[in-house]
C-alpha cells in the first residue's frame, strides 16, 4: 500500500465504514459487475437493519442471498425481486420479514444518478397509470403528464471495477459497468472491489469511467464476474 493510496488493508477493514441501519448500494446486474467478495465480507459481519439497493432480489447462491439469510437486511429497493433461484428473498418477503420497494429499472438508475447530480428529483412518464404511480405527485409540463420521482442516495456503495489506480480512478469491463458508475456518484462512502491495480496515470484521462474523487477505498480481488 503506497502512501496516499486508497487501497484498504483487507476487506474487513474496508467494511469498517459500514454501520447498522445504513443504506447500501450493491453494484452489478445479477452476477455481472457485482462486488461478490465485498458482499461475502459483509455477510460475515454482525450488521443489522440494512437497506440494500440492488437491481434484483438476489439469487440464493449469491452474496446477497447469504446476507438475506443472516437477517441483516430490513429492506430491499430493486426492480427485479424474483431473480432466478431467489427462494430466500421470496420466503422472507412472503413471511413479512423484509420490506420491498419496487422501482422500475430505468427509474432506479435515474434516481441514483439524480442524487449523485445533487438534484431534488425528476419527471418521468415511466409508471404512469400503473401501481408504481400510486402515492406519487403528478406534474404537467408542456401539456404532458409526468410522475415526480425522488433522488436515492446511500451511506455506502459496494462496487465492482476492472482497473483501479491509487487515486481510485476506475474502468469497467464489458457489461460489468451497469449500475456501478452512477452508484459511485451517489454514496457518501464508496468501496470498490477491482480486478487489477494500475499505476496512477496509466489509464488515459479520457478512458477513466469513474473519477477517483468518487472512490474512498478499494480492494483487489479476482478477475471477471463470478
Amino acid at each position: 500500500m503506497e502512501v496516499g493510496s486508497k487501497k484498504a488493508l483487507d476487506i474487513p477493514s474496508a467494511l469498517g465504514a459500514v454501520k447498522d441501519g445504513d443504506v447500501i448500494f450493491f453494484g452489478g446486474f445479477g452476477s455481472n459487475g457485482n462486488p461478490s467478495a465485498l458482499i461475502e465480507g459483509l455477510s460475515k459481519t454482525n450488521l443489522k437493519n440494512l437497506t440494500v439497493v440492488n437491481n434484483g432480489g438476489g439469487s440464493d447462491d449469491s452474496g446477497l442471498g447469504s446476507l438475506l439469510e443472516s437477517g441483516a437486511i430490513a429492506k430491499i429497493i430493486c426492480s427485479f425481486p424474483y431473480e432466478r433461484d431467489s427462494v430466500i428473498f421470496r420466503d422472507l418477503f412472503q413471511a413479512g420479514k423484509i420490506e420491498l420497494e419496487l422501482v422500475p429499472q430505468g427509474t432506479l438508475a435515474e434516481r441514483i444518478r439524480n442524487a449523485g447530480a445533487g438534484l431534488g428529483g425528476f419527471l418521468t412518464k415511466t409508471g404512469l397509470g400503473t401501481e408504481v404511480a400510486q402515492g406519487k405527485q403528478e406534474i404537467e409540463v408542456g401539456g404532458e403528464l409526468y410522475i415526480l420521482e425522488k433522488p436515492l442516495r446511500a451511506d455506502v456503495a459496494l462496487l465492482r471495477a476492472d482497473t483501479v489506480d491509487t487515486r481510485g480512478n476506475l474502468t469497467y469491463r464489458g457489461s460489468a459497468r451497469n449500475f456501478n458508475p452512477v452508484m459511485a456518484m451517489a454514496a457518501r462512502h464508496t468501496i470498490v472491489q477491482a480486478s487489477k491495480e494500475v499505476a496512477l496515470g496509466e489509464t488515459e484521462p479520457g478512458v477513466i469511467v469513474t473519477p477517483g474523487i468518487y472512490v474512498d477505498q478499494y480492494v483487489i480481488s479476482g478477475g471477471g464476474s463470478i
Binding site: 445479477g30 455481472n32 429499472q105 415511466t126 457489461s175
Partner: protein, 226 residues
C-alpha cells in the same frame, strides 16, 4: 375450444424468434426483453443492419457465444453470456435507460401476460402474487416507438392473453403495436386486433376462439413465413 390446437401446430420458441427477427428493419435500434425475446439475437443476421440494445448497457449486442467462448463480463439482461457485435458501445445503466426513454428505440420486443385491444401491456405481476418483476419493461415500453409483444397465445391454463381490457396489473398503457404468438401475428390498431398471419395448419376460427376480444382479419392474411 381454447385448447383444440394440436401441439405440433404451435410455433416453437425458436420459430417465433425467427419470425420476429424477420420483422426487424435495417437501421433499427431494438431492445429484446429477457427470456423468449432475447432468443431473437440468434436469428438477427450480422448484415441485417439491426443494432440490438441490452438494458444493462450494451448498444450492439451480438448472438450468444459459442460454447467455451463465454466472457463472464459480457452478459445480456437475463445475465446469460452474450457477445458484442462489431461497432458495439458500452454505457452505464442511467445512459442505457436514457436511450430507452429518449425515443432512440425503434422497437422493443417484450414478453407479455396480457395485451388489450388498445395496446395496453401487462407483463410484470400475476394478480395472485404480492409482487413481481418490473425490470426495465416499464421504461422500455414507455419509450420505444413500437412495442412487439412476443408470447404464447394462451396461458398454461388455456386462458386467452389477448383481451378487451387488462385484468392483470398494467406495465404500460397503449404501447403494443404488434403481437407475435405461437399461432398468429396480429397488429394492434385503432380499431382493435387485426389478424395478419396464422401458423400453418391453424384456422382463423381457431385463432378467434383463442382470443378474448374481437379479431378482424386482414385482407392480406397469410401463413406465418418460415
Amino acid at each position: 375450444m381454447e385448447t383444440v390446437i394440436a401441439e405440433n401446430l404451435l410455433l416453437s420458441r425458436e420459430a417465433m424468434a425467427k419470425r420476429v427477427a424477420q420483422e426487424l428493419q435495417a437501421g433499427w435500434v431494438v431492445n429484446l426483453g429477457i427470456g423468449m425475446p432475447v432468443l431473437t439475437t440468434k436469428y438477427v443476421g450480422a448484415d441485417q443492419g439491426v443494432i440490438v440494445h441490452s438494458e444493462n448497457g450494451i448498444i450492439g449486442m451480438g448472438p450468444p457465444p459459442r460454447e467455451g467462448e463465454e466472457d463472464d463480463d459480457v452478459r445480456n439482461a437475463g445475465n446469460e453470456p452474450t457477445t458484442l457485435a462489431l461497432g458495439a458501445a458500452l454505457v452505464h445503466q442511467a445512459d442505457s435507460f436514457s436511450l430507452a426513454r429518449g425515443g432512440r428505440l425503434n422497437c422493443a420486443v417484450l414478453g407479455g401476460f396480457q395485451v388489450s385491444t388498445s395496446g395496453d401491456l401487462a407483463n410484470w405481476r400475476l394478480p395472485k402474487n404480492p409482487t413481481g418483476n418490473i425490470g426495465g419493461a416499464m421504461d422500455i415500453a414507455s419509450g420505444a416507438n413500437e412495442v412487439f409483444a412476443m408470447m404464447s397465445h394462451l396461458t398454461k391454463q388455456g386462458e386467452p392473453k389477448l383481451v378487451e381490457e387488462l385484468t392483470y396489473p398494467v406495465t404500460t398503457l397503449a404501447c403494443v403495436t404488434k403481437i407475435f404468438t405461437d399461432i398468429a401475428v396480429i397488429t394492434v390498431t385503432g380499431e382493435g386486433f387485426v389478424l395478419e398471419e396464422v401458423a400453418s395448419g391453424v384456422g382463423v376460427e381457431q385463432v378467434k376462439a383463442c382470443t378474448a376480444a374481437p379479431l378482424l382479419v386482414s385482407d392480406a392474411l397469410q401463413d406465418i413465413p418460415m
